[in-house]
């Protein structure tokens, strides 16, 4: 296998030489082939990503947006972060793809083809906020291991598919059902076919929500390969890792799902707050459910220089996991005074909300514009890092951008 991979690259390189021209194969490359370069433009082209996205890791592929790229009301594929635990599947043939249901608490284990899902069940669309549980990890001190996400591992796209609830009605679940675990077609980095890179899930109550979808479209088109083509579980407002990509099987469990990355310290935080750097036993770690309230300034891009007297208009998005955002405020004096932004209602429950504002500066100098959202239960974002946890999850500290008035 190694030999073959090497040869395929050598073969292509030789072809380029032979033909005296470059060979465009990016999107046809066999998966598993080690792609070229550390910040390789073709890797981005292959997945339709903007070349200015930040590559955190090319194996497994992990890419995040910069704040100003997230200015769209609905996030397009090119600015959507990519988080993978394993290798993107080699084959995703819609003609043969199926989704099966099994587990201790399923009444009628069965399987659906993609076509059956599309034709037999009502179709629903929602704009859903998906944020990586580790978004903001880069700020933790002591540092937390893993991909060092800054602010850009969040998106709000329009997802279309069938309600998971409708499928659960069709297969039937027993009264003992408590959790839905997903299984998918991605492969383990070690190449071990017996290992799943990730197999997480959601409690039954989340599975039964209107907005929890088994989706086959994103933004009105087939789901892009990096985001789960052809089928993805989408549960907005929760760590994006529960929204399993390349979905092949759902297990109706009579206990909390115990798949890969459900146990230990993965996607868990200390049940009780701990001091920074503390050691926390696995049994003292609790599964992350709803994500906390957070906001992002998407315009202007950080680093704006403007003349004194010119007002600055700004905008961004705010979201609050299972809850709604009730207000967003801004500060240009490091939180000494806060002022209200205008805030829109969400497109639907679990979609991010757009805010905007305008500010005049009292004198020339360096400023930071800070945004702070408050959720419908009255909880606001902290200005400093929230509770330290071993894996660096749930950093919802206020976002800020740098400005100069000259």
């Amino acid at each position: 296998m190694q030999r073959r991979k090497f040869v395929s690259r050598a073969g292509l390189a030789s072809l380029g030489t032979l033909l005296g021209a470059e060979v465009v194969f990016g999107h046809n490359l066999p998966e598993g082939l080690t792609l070229l370069g550390l910040q390789d433009p073709d890797l981005f082209r292959r997945f339709g990503k903007d070349p200015d996205m930040t590559l955190l890791n090319d194996k497994p592929l992990n890419i995040e947006a910069k704040a100003h790229m997230l200015d769209d009301a609905v996030t397009p594929n090119r600015f959507m972060f990519v988080r993978n635990n394993g290798n993107i599947p080699v084959k995703a043939d819609p003609a043969t793809w199926s989704l099966s249901f099994d587990g201790e608490s399923v009444t009628r284990p069965k399987s659906y083809t993609l076509q059956e899902l599309k034709s037999r069940f009502p179709r629903h669309s929602y704009e859903l906020t998906l944020e990586c549980g580790g978004n903001g990890r880069a700020e933790f001190d002591p540092p937390a291991s893993g991909n060092q996400w800054t602010v850009g591992a969040v998106s709000c796209a329009r997802w279309t598919g069938v309600r998971l609830r409708d499928l659960l009605d069709d297969v039937g679940i027993t009264p003992e059902a408590v959790y839905i675990g997903y299984h998918a077609a991605d492969t383990h980095l070690s190449g071990d076919p017996g290992k799943e890179p990730i197999s997480r899930g959601i409690p039954l109550a989340k599975a039964l929500q209107d907005e929890t979808l088994v989706a086959y479209q994103m933004n009105g088109e087939d789901i892009p390969l990096a985001h789960g083509y052809p089928l993805r579980l989408v549960a907005g407002g929760w760590p994006a890792s529960v929204s399993g990509k390349w979905l092949t099987r759902l297990s109706v469990r009579n206990k909390v799902h115990d798949g890969e990355k459900m146990t230990g310290s993965s996607y868990r935080v200390p049940c009780e707050p701990v001091a920074p750097g503390a050691e926390v036993a696995d049994e003292q770690m609790c599964i992350i459910e709803s994500m906390p309230v957070k906001s992002l300034l998407s315009a202007p891009r950080t680093g704006a220089v403007l003349p004194l007297g010119q007002p600055l208009t700004f905008r961004g998005h705010a979201w609050a996991g299972e809850l709604a955002v009730s207000r967003v405020a801004y500060s240009i004096d490091f939180g000494s005074t806060w002022h209200s932004c205008s805030l829109q209602a969400p497109a639907n429950r679990l979609a991010w909300q757009h805010f905007s504002g305008s500010v005049r500066f009292p004198k020339k100098g360096y400023y930071e514009l800070w945004a702070r959202a408050t959720d419908s239960s009255g909880t606001a974002q902290p200005m400093v890092l929230p509770g330290w946890n071993p894996k660096g999850y749930l950093n919802n500290a206020c976002h800020r951008i740098a400005l100069k008035v000259v």
Binding site: A21, D42, L189
Partner: protein, 150 residues
């Protein structure tokens, strides 16, 4: 893993659309190269043969992005088979933290016994990728200033 990834030819491989004819012709040739017994031997150097394969510039091992230092090649060999070097270089841990990470990979991710290389690798990681104090909130850095149009 195959390591011959950084040649000039390789980097320009997929750059630019040169027309469908080129693609089709290339595809046919590729199939031919695959099918030709021993064909690859004629066109491919063995990995690592070309000059500059393990070149270090400004203290950085160009092929992987790792910091140059004692133990570099043990790290390259053992730590980039399954995942990118970027998963290492973006992280900061104490020696104990790196050791725990190795144990976790051995217990759950099929990492092999590193034998005598383990101490070499841990010394390297602790020296080059140690934690820095960041506090509760850092200054904004690397700002690219630009004139905002009204």
């Amino acid at each position: 893993m195959g390591n011959r990834t950084k040649s000039r030819a390789g980097q320009s491989l997929f750059r630019g659309w040169q027309g469908i004819v080129v693609v089709l012709l290339g595809g046919l040739l590729l199939v031919w190269l695959y099918l030709l017994p021993g064909g690859e031997a004629a066109v491919a150097e063995a990995p690592g043969d070309e000059p500059g394969f393990d070149q270090v510039e400004n203290g950085i091992h160009l092929r992987t992005g790792f910091a140059d230092g004692e133990g570099l090649m043990a790290v390259v060999t053992n730590c980039t088979a399954c995942h990118s070097a970027k998963l290492v270089t973006q992280n900061r841990m104490t020696r104990e933290g790196w050791e725990q990470t190795i144990r976790w990979m051995q217990q759950t991710q099929n990492l092999w016994d590193l034998g005598a290389n383990e101490a070499i690798i841990l010394d390297y990681l602790a020296a080059h990728y140690a934690p820095e104090k960041k506090g509760r909130r850092q200054n904004l850095t690397d700002i690219e200033w630009y004139e905002l149009q009204p």
